[in-house]
C-alpha cells in the first residue's frame, strides 16, 4: 500500500493543482493520515442511492455531519436519442467499479447519479404521473439563474479529499485506477459539462475564507461548518430519507433533487451586522430576543426550535424590522402532520462557475419526494407577503439572508433507486 499510496497521493496533489480547484487542493492538503481506504462490495450497497445518513458521522445530538469533501460532475451523454445497450454497459461498468473501489461509508465514497428532465426528453415515453420533475424555474421575483439542463449529475462525497479527487480523476479518464480498482472512465459515454467542488464541516470554511465575498477580517469561526457562521441541517429540521423517498411506481426507492448554486456576499453580513442581528436574520428575532443561539449554535442540540416562531413573522417584521430565514422557510417546510418535507444537503465552495476566481459560494442540493415541495419552501423564503405587510422588510433587505445570497444556477433531477441508476428509461421495468 505504501508505494501505491505515495504514488496516488502525489498524483492526487498534481491533479488538484492541474485542475486549479483551489478548494479541492486545500482539502487535499488536509489529508494527513495514510490509513487505507476501505474497499467496497457492490452487493452490499443500499438500494437507495440517497441512503447516506446511516453511513456518515453524526454529532453528539444525532445531527448528520455530511461528508467533508464533495464533487458534482454535470454530465451530457454523447448519444443522441435513447441510450443503447452499449452505453448502459459502459456506464454500469464505471459505477460498479466505484462500488468495488470504495466502501459505502464516509471514509469510503458515497455517490449518486441523478437525471434531468432534459435527459428524459430523449425518450418518446413520459415519466410516470407520480413523478414530479419539472424543468427548473426562477423561484423568486428577483433572480434570473442559469438553468442546469445537463443530462445528469454525479455527486461524489467522502470525508477524505483524496478519495473524491481520485474517483473524480478516474471517472474523467485522467487515471486508470481508484483505490487499486480499475475504473473505466465515464468519458466513454459522457462529457463532463461542469465540475464543481466543495467542502463542509467545522474548520473547512474558516480555512477557505480567503475568497471574494468574505471580508478580509476572516470572520468565519473555526467551529462553523458553513461560511455564514452557524450550524444548519439540525436533525429535527430535516426530512428523513424515508420521507423524501418515492414510494411507488418504477422509481420507488428514488427521490428528486434540486441543486442550486448561490454566490455569497458576506461583507455586510459580518461587518454591518451584530451577532444578535445575524441570529435574527438566520433564525428569527425570537431566537435573538431569547438568547437561544450561542456561538455557531451547537447549543441548539438536535433542532433549531424554529417551529415556535413561525407564527410571529408579521409581528417580528413590525417590531424588530427583520425576519428570519429559517422562520420564513419553515412555514412551507411542514406537511399537515408537521413533518419536515425537505432533506437539505448543502455544502460550501469557493467555485465561481465560469471563472477561475475564488468566490464564496454554496452548492445547495435538496432532496424531496416532489420538486414542488422544494419550490414552495423556496418561495416562502422570499417573504414577499412580509414586504407587503411593512416597508421595513424589503425585497432582499432585512428579509432573512436574501441580501447576502445570489442564486446563479439551478437544476432539477431525479435520483433513481440504485437498480435503475444506469441510463433509465422513463418507465424502467
Amino acid at each position: 500500500m505504501s508505494t501505491d499510496g505515495d504514488r496516488s497521493r502525489r498524483a492526487v496533489l498534481k491533479a488538484a493543482v492541474a485542475l486549479g480547484g483551489a478548494s479541492a487542493l486545500s482539502a487535499c492538503l488536509d489529508r494527513t493520515d495514510d490509513d487505507p481506504v476501505p474497499t467496497g462490495d457492490p452487493a452490499s450497497k443500499p438500494p437507495r442511492q440517497h441512503a447516506w445518513r446511516e453511513y456518515v458521522r453524526h454529532d453528539d445530538h444525532g445531527n448528520t455531519q455530511l461528508p467533508a469533501h464533495q464533487i458534482l460532475l454535470y454530465l451530457d451523454f454523447d448519444v443522441e436519442g435513447p441510450p443503447t445497450d452499449g452505453d448502459r454497459e459502459a456506464l454500469a461498468a464505471s459505477l460498479s467499479a466505484l462500488d468495488r473501489a470504495y466502501a459505502w461509508r464516509h471514509e469510503g465514497l458515497l455517490h449518486s447519479l441523478a437525471y434531468s428532465p432534459a435527459y428524459f426528453d430523449r425518450f418518446d415515453a413520459s415519466l410516470p404521473e407520480g413523478i414530479d420533475l419539472p424543468e427548473p424555474t426562477a423561484l423568486s421575483p428577483f433572480e434570473s439563474p442559469t438553468f442546469d439542463r445537463q443530462d445528469a449529475v454525479l455527486h461524489l462525497a467522502s470525508d477524505r479529499a483524496d478519495v473524491v479527487l481520485t474517483a473524480d480523476r478516474a471517472l474523467r479518464g485522467e487515471r486508470e485506477t481508484a483505490n487499486s480498482v480499475s475504473v473505466p472512465p465515464l468519458t466513454e459515454v459522457a462529457t463532463v459539462a461542469s465540475r464543481r467542488t466543495g467542502f463542509v464541516g467545522a474548520g473547512l470554511p474558516a480555512a477557505n475564507q480567503d475568497a471574494a465575498g468574505i471580508p478580509d477580517s476572516e470572520p468565519v469561526p473555526e467551529a462553523s461548518p458553513l461560511f455564514m457562521g452557524f450550524e444548519a441541517g439540525f436533525r429535527g429540521n430535516q426530512a428523513t430519507e424515508d420521507y423524501v423517498t418515492i414510494e411507488s411506481g418504477p422509481f420507488a426507492g428514488g427521490t428528486t433533487k434540486v441543486i442550486a448554486n448561490l454566490r455569497q456576499r458576506l461583507e455586510d453580513w459580518y461587518d454591518e451586522q451584530s451577532e444578535a442581528e445575524r441570529v435574527m436574520e438566520m433564525f428569527s428575532p425570537g431566537h435573538a430576543k431569547n438568547g437561544l443561539v450561542e456561538g455557531v449554535g451547537d447549543n441548539l442540540g438536535s433542532s433549531s426550535g424554529i417551529d415556535r416562531f413561525v407564527d410571529d413573522l408579521v409581528d417580528d417584521a413590525r417590531e424588530h424590522g427583520r425576519v428570519g430565514h429559517a422562520q420564513k422557510a419553515a412555514r412551507a417546510n411542514r406537511d399537515a402532520d408537521g413533518n419536515v418535507r425537505l432533506l437539505r444537503r448543502h455544502f460550501e465552495s469557493t467555485d465561481d462557475i465560469g471563472s477561475d476566481q475564488r468566490v464564496a459560494s454554496l452548492h445547495f442540493p435538496s432532496l424531496q419526494r416532489r420538486i414542488s415541495a422544494f419550490e414552495a419552501v423556496r418561495r416562502a423564503m422570499n417573504g414577499t407577503d412580509l414586504t407587503e405587510a411593512t416597508p421595513t422588510i424589503r425585497q432582499r433587505v432585512n428579509n432573512g439572508i436574501l441580501e447576502y445570497i445570489f442564486v446563479r444556477r439551478r437544476g432539477n433531477f431525479l435520483v433513481p433507486p440504485r437498480r435503475h441508476r444506469v441510463l433509465p428509461t422513463p418507465r424502467p421495468e
Binding site: P141, E143, S144, D268, Q357, P391, T392, V397
Partner: protein, 358 residues
Amino acid sequence: MKRRDLLRTGAALSGALTLAGCSKLMETRAAGVPPIPEDRPDGVYVPSHVEGMEMVGTASSGDYVVGLMYSYPHRFWNVNGESVSLTEIDTDDAVHLMASVWDVDTEAVLPDTGLSAEIYRDGSLVSQEAIYPMLSQPMGFHYGANFGLDGEGTYAVRLSVGAMSTRRTGAFEGRFADPATVEIPFEYSEAAKEEIEFRTLDDRVATPGAVDPMGMEALPDSFAPPESTLPGRVLGAATSNDARLVVTALDAPPAGIDAAGTYLAVSARTRYNRMVIPAMGLSGRLERDGEAVYDGEFARTLDPDLGYHYGAVVDDVESGDTLTLSVTVQPQTSRHEGYETAFGGRMGGMPDVTVEVP
C-alpha cells in the same frame, strides 16, 4: 467650485496634504468632505456640501429602463424600522454608484423594485450587492451604494431589477412583474471623477431648506405630481416632519383595486423639492361626527396618473369629515445628508396630521 480647486485650497493650507498627493486624497477622502453639520434641525435642512453626478449610461430590458450614474463616495444614513444609522465612507470606496429605474413606456420612476449590482472587470467579479433605495435633495429617489474598484479602467456593471411587489393600478396593473438584468459599461478614471462638481455651502448650511434638484438629460425626475395636476378632488394637505401629504379623492378606485367606493390617495413628497417619498407605512382614520367611517391601512401603490402614493377605499367622503393620517413606519429609504433628520429620522416617528374635508 470644482472639487479639485477645493482640494488645492486645502493643500495650500497644509504641507502634509501636498505630500500625500491629490489622487490619494480622492480615494481616501482624507480631505474635502466637510463634517456633518452641527445643530441640524429636526427636518429637511441644507447640507454641508453638494456633489454632482455623472451619467454613465442607460440600458433597457423588458418593462424597465435603468440609468447608471456615479459620483464621489458619499456618506449616507440607512433606515431600518426606527433606527437611522450613519454609513461612513470607507477608505476603499472609489465611487458612489447610483441607479434609477423607470418605465420604458411612460418614464415613470419606479421607487420600489429592489435592485442589485454586480461589477466585473475583465470577467472577474469586483463586487456584488443589493443596493439600497435612497433619497437625496439634488436627485430625489434613486438606488445607491459606495463601491471600491480595482483602479482605473473599464468595468461592466450589471444591474438586476427585481419585480415589484408594490400594488400597481391603472395601466401599471400587471406590469413590472418580472425581474430583468442590464449591463452598462463604466469607464472609470480618477481624472474624470474629479471633474464632477463638488461645492460646499456656507452660511445656509444646517438651516431649514433644501438645495435645488439637479436636472439631468436622459434621466426622468422623481417629483410627485403637483397638487394642481393630481387626479380627483384634492381635499387638502398637511405636513408631518417635512413630509408633505396631499390627499385627493377619486370617485372610484383605479383599475386593479377590487373594491367599490371612494378612493383616497395620499401623495407624499418632500417639503421644498416635491420629491416622492416612498416606502412608508401609512394608516388613516376618517371620522364623521366623531365616528370612524374608515380606520385602516393606506396601501403603497403605483399608478400612472397618481404616481407613487398610499391609497385606501372608503365608502364615501363628506364635507366636514376629518382624515387623520398616521405614519406607522417612517420612509424606509436611506437618506443623503439633509434628509436624515427629517421624516422621522431624528424622532423615530412622525406626528399624526389631520386634513379637514372641505
